[in-house]
C-alpha cells in the first residue's frame, strides 16, 4: 500500500508544473521534460550530491537539484547564464583534474562527461591541466579500472552497494588526494563479476568491460547523434 502522495506546484524556469511530494527537483524536472544536467545522480541510487553539475537556484539559493526535494511553491531557475557558466566550470574542472584524451578513449560517444562538454559548447578547458599521475588496474579478467578518467562521482560505489549488494568500491584519502579504491589489492581479488550492474554504471571511461571495445563503431554512438539530455527534452515535445 502506498500512501496517498500529495501533489505540489513548483515553477522551473517560469514554467508551472505539478509534482508529487517527496521527489527531488531533478526527478520532477525530468518528468516534466526539463533536462537539468547531472553526472553523479544515477537511476534510483541514493543521490550523492558531489559533482554539483545539477546546481539550480531554489528560491534564490544555489542547491544541488539531485538532492533537494520539492516543496510547495518552490521557484527554481536552471537555464540561466550564471548557472550555465558554473556548470561549464565544473565540467572543465573534471577534465583538468584527470587525464582525459577523448580522441583515444573507447568511451568516446558514450561518455557523459564528453557529451556534457559538447552540449555546453566546450572545445578546450579554460583551466590549466593538473596532469595527475594515476594508475590503471588491469588485474581483473573481464573489467578494468583506469583511474586517469575517474571523476569521483561515486556511481560505482553506490551501484555496487545498492544494486549488486556488494562493496567493491570506496573512496580513500581526502581533498585533492581523494581517489577510488577497491576492496582488495586489485580488482581481480574482489568479488566483482562482469555481470554486475556496476560494470555499466560509470559515466566515463574509467570502469570498462574488456574485449568489447568498438563493438559500436565511433560515429554510431548515441552522443554522436543527439546531445545528452535530448531524450528527456524529446518527451516534452511529444507531450505537447
Amino acid at each position: 500500500m502506498t500512501k496517498n502522495k500529495q501533489t505540489l506546484t513548483i515553477t522551473i524556469d517560469g514554467k508551472k508544473i505539478a509534482v508529487e511530494e517527496g521527489i527531488t527537483i531533478l526527478k520532477a524536472a525530468e518528468k516534466a521534460g526539463i533536462y537539468i544536467p547531472h553526472l553523479c545522480a544515477y537511476k534510483d541510487l541514493i543521490p550523492h550530491g558531489s559533482c554539483r553539475v545539477c546546481s539550480v537556484r531554489v528560491n534564490g539559493r544555489i542547491q544541488a537539484s539531485c538532492v533537494q526535494t520539492v516543496s510547495e511553491g518552490m521557484v527554481i531557475e536552471s537555464d540561466t547564464a550564471e548557472l550555465l557558466e558554473y556548470r561549464r566550470m565544473i565540467v572543465d574542472m573534471l577534465f583538468v583534474e584527470g587525464n582525459h584524451f577523448c580522441m583515444f578513449c573507447e568511451k568516446s560517444g558514450h561518455c557523459e562527461l564528453q557529451a556534457m562538454a559538447y552540449r555546453f559548447g566546450i572545445t578546450a578547458p579554460q583551466f590549466p591541466y593538473l596532469n595527475p599521475n594515476r594508475d590503471i588496474d588491469l588485474s581483473h579478467p573481464d573489467v578494468f579500472l583506469d583511474h586517469n578518467r575517474c571523476i569521483l562521482c561515486g556511481r560505482c560505489v553506490r551501484t555496487s552497494q545498492e544494486l549488486d549488494h556488494k562493496n567493491v568500491f570506496q573512496f580513500v584519502n581526502r581533498g585533492h588526494k581523494k581517489r577510488l579504491e577497491v576492496n582488495a589489492k586489485g580488482l581481480a581479488e574482489t568479488d566483482l563479476n562482469v555481470t554486475d550492474s556496476v560494470v555499466n554504471a560509470c559515466p566515463v571511461g574509467a570502469l570498462m568491460k574488456k574485449r568489447v571495445g568498438y563493438e559500436v563503431p565511433i560515429g554510431n554512438r548515441p552522443f554522436d547523434h543527439a546531445s545528452i539530455g535530448s531524450e528527456i527534452e524529446k518527451t516534452e515535445g511529444e507531450r505537447k
Binding site: 543521490p47 554539483r52 546546481s55 533537494q68 566550470m89 570506496q170 581533498g175 585533492h176
Partner: protein, 603 residues
Amino acid sequence: MKQALEKIVAEICDSFGNDRTRLMDITTAVQRRFGCVSDSAIDLIARAVKTHRVEIESLVTFYSFFSKEEQGKVVIRLCDDIVDWMKGYQQIADALVKELGISIGETTSDGEITLTRTPCIGMSDQAPAALVNDVAVTYLTPERAVKMVRELRKHLDPHQLVTVLGEGNNSNPLVHSMVRNNIRQKGAVLFADFESGTALKRTLNMTPESVIGEIKASKLRGRGGAGFPTGLKWEFASKTKADRRFIICNADEGEPGTFKDRVLLTERAEMLFEGMTIAGYAVGAELGILYLRGEYSYLFSYLNHVLETRKNSGLLGNSIMGKQGFNFDIRIQLGAGAYVCGEETALISSCEGKRGDPKNRPPFPPQEGYMGCPTVVNNVESFCCASRIMIEGAKWFSAMGSPRTAGTKALSISGDCRRPGVYEVPFGTKASDLLELCEAENPGAMLIGGPCRQMIGPNRFGGIICYDDLATGGSIIVFNKARNKLEIAEHYLDFFIEESCGYCTPCRVGLVLLKKYVRKVVSGAGEPQDLDKMLKLSNMIVSTSRCGLGQAAPNPVLGALNNFRELYESMVSERKHGLQPDFDLTSAVVDSELFVGRRSLYV
C-alpha cells in the same frame, strides 16, 4: 609479532563491542598502540566489526592523525598556523630539521621520532606551539625545540617534557599540562562562578517545553559561528517524532585562531556538561556526545573524570537529581585531525565511525542526525550559556549585548598584540576596543572569525562584534601594518585545500585551481584579467560547494581582492607578444634544439 597484532587488535575491537559505529575509537587505539593502522590491522578490524576492508581504509586515510605507514614512537606535530609563522615557525622548523636530521614529514632512521606539521592546534595565544604525541608544548623557541628533542631521545616520553604547569585546571594531575588559560577578561555569563547542579535544579522544576521557552526567550544564538537560535533548534529536535534523540557538543574548535573552547573545557567542564544535560531534558534525549578534537586529547582523562563525578553525585545517569524518568548520559568521542569535522553533519558522520564527509542537508540534524535520529549539535560555549540562562533567567541574559545579539562572547585574541588570550566581552563591543584591550601593536588588519570569514582594515575597526556586523565564532587575529596580506590569504587558501574533504568538485578541484592563479599573480607572472578570473572562480566555489567549508574557503582570497585589491593590482601587468606569461619559450624548446642540433630563432 603477527599473532600479537591479531590478539591486540581483537582485544581493542572487543573492548568497543566490535561496534562499527565506534570505529574512530578502535582506530585511535590501534594507531596509538602500533604507531600505524597497517594493511594487516585494517583487515583484522574489518573482520572484527563485520565490514569491508575498504571501508576501514577509507576512514583511516581520511583523518590526519591516522597513518598506514608506521610512524615514530614520538610524533612531533609543529603547528603551522599563520600566527605561529609570525612568532617564528620557520626558525623552529629549521632547528628541528637540523637536530633530527630529517625533513618535515619524515621519521628518524631509528624509528623513534616523526616530524610533521599540522594546522592550528588551538594554542595561538602561546605560539609557536606543537603537539608531541598528545602533549601540547607551547611558547617554543629554536633553543627549546632542540632541548626538547635531546630530552625525548633519552626517554621518548613526551609527558616528561612538562615541568612548569599552566594555571587553573591545567595543573590538575589528570591534565598535567604546560598550557596556559590566559583568561584576560571575565564576563558575567561564562567566567563568573558556577556551582554544579544549580542550573539543573531549576531546569528540572520546569517542564521541558518551558525550558525551551526560556532558552528561546533568552535570545541565545549559537556560539560556533553561524548564530542559529538555540531554543529554536532544541524545539525542532523535540518536535520531530522519534524514539531516540541525541545531544552533541561540538568541541572540534578547528577554526584557526580559536582557542576559547579549550579554556572553557579546562575551566568550565561542569557548566558545559550541565548545559548538555539541560538540553537532554528539554528535547527528551538519553545520550549526549562530546566531540573532542584530537588535538585536545590531553583533556580526555580529566573530562572523563568530571563525567564520573557527576554520575556519582546523581547529576548524570538514571533519575537525575531524583527526577523519575529522566535518564541522561554523556560519552566523549575523540576526533583525529580533520577541520571539516567541525561542520555539524561531518561531525555526526565521524561520531558514527565514518569518514568525516558532510551529509546532504536537508535533512538537518534536528530532523535526522546521529544514527538517523533528531540531534541537537551545539558549540561548547552555547551549552555553557544555556546553564547560565537557567540560573539567571532569560531576561537577565537578553538584557546584555547588542540590540540584536544577546549575551556575551568568548573571544580568542592572538597575533600582533601584547596580551593574547581569552576575553569575555558583551556583544556589541567595537573592534577598536578589542585592539586596545589586547594592546595591539601597530594594527593594520584584523581577521575576525578566522579564515572562513574576512579580514578587515582600519576603515572597519569601528565595527562591532555581533552576528549582523563582525560575526565570529571566537577567532580574532591581529596583524600589524607590516604583515603581507596576500601571503596570509595564500596561507589560508593552502589550509582549506588541505582540509577539504574532497567530496564535491568545486571545493576539491576549484581550490587547487584558485591557488594556481594566486601563485601566478603573486610570482609576478599575472595579467590584469587574472584578477577577474580569480574573482569569478571564487564566486563559483562559494555558490556551488556542498558544505560550509567550500562555501567559505575562497574568503581569504575574496577578502584580499575586495578589501586590498590594489595589492594584487600592483603585481600584474599586460604581456607583450601575446605570449602566456607563465609560459617559458626558451626552456620549452630546449629538447627540440638538442634534437635538431641548432638554436631556434624567435623574438
